[in-house]
């Protein structure tokens, strides 16, 4: 079985580029160049240098002693929360901004839900002195005021998406429309392993630094390069793709993907795409998505804005369909409790997205000798208001 992308841009039956002809030249230009550009020694050097000096990589692989004791297994946290801007998102935006420069683009567009990817994009645009336009659903703009302010301070224009449900999927539609309207000078920095080929593969490769580091860091801690489990939350799937990447083909390493169940998988207010979704096309990719019987895309719900997406990337659809990864759905309540537990046991305030991943320890029993690496994808600063409202601090 192959869990990586094939030469036609598919993971098994998922992926491809289901895009209007208007986008073809842009996407094709990227498809023809992305591997070549990424392989250039100069590109590699600049990418790695920025990851080190600007992002602060490698991010620590931290043995969480008290959490491990509580759940009677060996838990390592991959500390993406310690990256500049507070999440794994910046690994991808650094890569893509360098790509955009190599392709001669000087105008950058992005979509954002919670604002984490928007902030990471605005940050690298400031770093490179490029124009930055971020599309964000009107409803999310109201919900995520601090990140809107951050993007503006960093010099980005934040444009409200007023169509449809006015959240992440609509912001993505608006970014795609902008790209149709600006086919020559603009690069679209997608924020996850979603969208038309080559985006899922390109973003996965930029995030792959996470599992590359896990291998040698685990060697230092445990004297072996592979864990028994890798656990990550899945919105679009980029932090999970990065944490899985170097273990995809090694089935001795078990993969766990954690989705947001919202108020419960059967509540009608959920974002558990693997359970609730069907095969279809969203944002240019054939994958699993939440939709009506009639093929209209539906609005998901999760307390975590970063997991509030009605699809998953095609890699994850394939991992689900083949059974390579185990998918677990975690409710708002389970995630919030797990987030608070990490604060109390380890002194780390996680992003609510990452709290979903942490909640698996109450759902699934691991053996005492199991080495479980969990992608702590982001820090909780952005979620403080949510935690306050939830716990009434």
């Amino acid at each position: 079985m192959n869990y990586n992308i094939n030469e036609k841009g598919y993971y098994g039956e998922f992926g491809g580029a289901y895009i209007p002809e208007m986008l073809y030249p842009n996407v094709e230009e990227l498809r023809q160049n992305y591997l070549k550009v990424m392989a250039e020694p100069e590109f590699q050097k600049e990418f790695n240098q920025l990851l080190k000096d600007y992002v602060g990589r490698p991010s620590p692989l931290y043995f969480a002693k008290r959490l491990s004791k509580k759940y009677n297994t060996k838990i390592y946290l991959k500390r993406e929360d310690l990256n500049h801007t507070g999440a794994h998102k910046i690994n991808n935006t650094i890569g893509q901004i360098l790509m955009a420069k190599r392709l001669g683009k000087h105008r950058i567009i992005a979509e954002t839900g919670a604002g984490q990817h928007g902030v990471a994009t605005a940050t690298v645009c400031a770093l490179m002195g490029l124009e930055c336009i971020v599309y964000m659903g009107e409803i999310d703009i109201a919900r995520q005021a601090p990140n809107v302010a951050r993007m503006k301070m960093l010099g980005a224009s934040v444009i409200p998406a007023l169509s449809g449900s006015r959240t992440l999927k609509d912001a993505t539609n608006e970014a795609i429309r902008d790209w149709i309207n600006n086919p020559v000078d603009t690069h679209y920095i997608i924020g996850s392993v979603v969208g038309p080929h080559p985006y899922p593969d390109m973003v996965a490769r930029f995030q792959a630094v996470v599992s590359e580091e896990i291998q040698w860091q685990l060697q230092e801690h445990e004297g072996k390069t592979k864990p028994d489990y890798v656990v990550a939350c899945v919105g679009g799937g980029s932090n999970a793709a990065g944490a899985y990447y170097h273990f995809l083909e090694d089935t001795e390493v078990k993969l766990i993907a954690v989705e947001a169940a919202g108020l419960g998988v059967d509540s009608g207010e959920s974002a558990a795409t693997s359970v609730l979704g069907k095969e279809g096309i969203i944002h240019g990719s054939k994958t699993l998505l939440m939709q009506t019987n009639d093929g209209q895309i539906t609005e998901p719900y999760s307390i975590s804005a970063g997991l509030d997406y009605p699809g998953v990337g095609p890699m994850h659809a394939h991992l689900y369909k083949t059974g390579r990864a185990e998918f677990i759905a975690i409710t708002d309540d389970q995630a919030m409790q797990a987030g608070l537990e990490l604060c109390k046991l380890e002194g780390i305030i996680p992003a609510i997205e990452s709290s979903h991943a942490l909640a698996v320890f109450k759902q699934k029993k691991f053996q005492p000798e199991d080495v479980v690496v969990l992608s702590l994808s982001g820090r909780g600063d952005k979620d403080l208001q949510n935690y306050i409202d939830y716990f009434k601090f």
Partner: protein, 254 residues
């Protein structure tokens, strides 16, 4: 017999009109089609509304959202159209995004189109190569013509490829834009229209996106076989309802 090739052979410039099924009201579909034909329109694109129309600007987006709120579905549209061929004889094309067709089942969808008397499909997010490899045989089995788009950025090589697998007309997108966003054609568009006309393709071209009035219709049809109007007609429906379709069409053609 498919009505599109016959229509394309007529010695005149063609006017094609797009509307979103289910808008402004759920039961306007047949009235709009019949009135358009009576007003002298040559071809109609019936829009199957989609929640996430990536290639469309605000006007068609809003009409799609409203149509879905009104309760439009694929099955309902097919029901509304089941007797359409008793009263309407011009070519009818369904324009929609691929996901609703995929969920209906591509073969079932095509079969239903044939039963009703639909002549062609325009599916902006079904790429040419995927169609060619996976769906061409099905479309042909049910006598449907699939219409592909080209844009000012489409390479000559790709235009020739698209021409080679087309068997009706080529939908020429007037400028790099989503629907409804241009206001008049400048030198750049005219150059592009001429460039394509000079390629002497096998399939005639019909220009769409940004055509809104008599002037832009004339500019487009100077270099192409016809032109398609979408957003401007939707705006007309929004303002005037379905009763004054004739005056809209006259304002384009006079």
């Amino acid at each position: 017999m498919n009505r599109i090739p016959t229509k394309l052979k007529e010695n005149k410039k063609l006017l094609s009109i797009y509307f979103t099924a289910g808008y402004p009201s759920i039961d306007n579909t047949t009235t709009i089609i019949q009135n358009l034909e009576k007003s002298g329109v040559d071809m109609i694109e019936i829009g199957l509304p989609f929640s996430d129309p990536l290639a469309d600007g605000p006007t068609i987006q809003a009409s799609s959202t409203q149509a879905l709120k009104n309760g439009m579905t694929t099955e309902l549209l097919f029901n509304q159209l089941k007797d359409i061929r008793k009263t309407v004889s011009i070519p009818l094309i369904i324009m929609g995004y691929f996901n609703p067709m995929l969920q209906y089942g591509v073969e079932a969808f095509c079969k239903k189109c044939q039963e009703i008397g639909i002549d062609g499909l325009i599916i902006p997010d079904l790429p040419v190569d995927v169609y060619n490899e996976e769906y061409k045989a099905i479309f042909e089995k049910y006598g449907l013509i699939n219409v592909f788009l080209i844009t000012p950025q489409t390479s000559v090589e790709r235009i020739n490829f698209i021409d080679s697998i087309s068997n009706g007309f080529i939908y020429m997108v007037s400028s790099a834009s989503v629907t409804g966003s241009s206001s008049g054609f400048g030198e750049e568009q005219t150059k592009y229209f001429k460039r394509i006309a000079n390629m002497k393709l096998n399939n005639p071209q019909i220009i769409g996106f940004g055509i809104s009035n008599n002037e832009t219709f004339s500019q487009a049809t100077t270099h192409a076989k016809g032109a398609i109007i979408g957003s401007a007609f939707i705006k007309h429906l929004t303002n005037k309802g379905v009763s004054e379709i004739n005056s809209f069409v006259k304002s384009i053609l006079n």
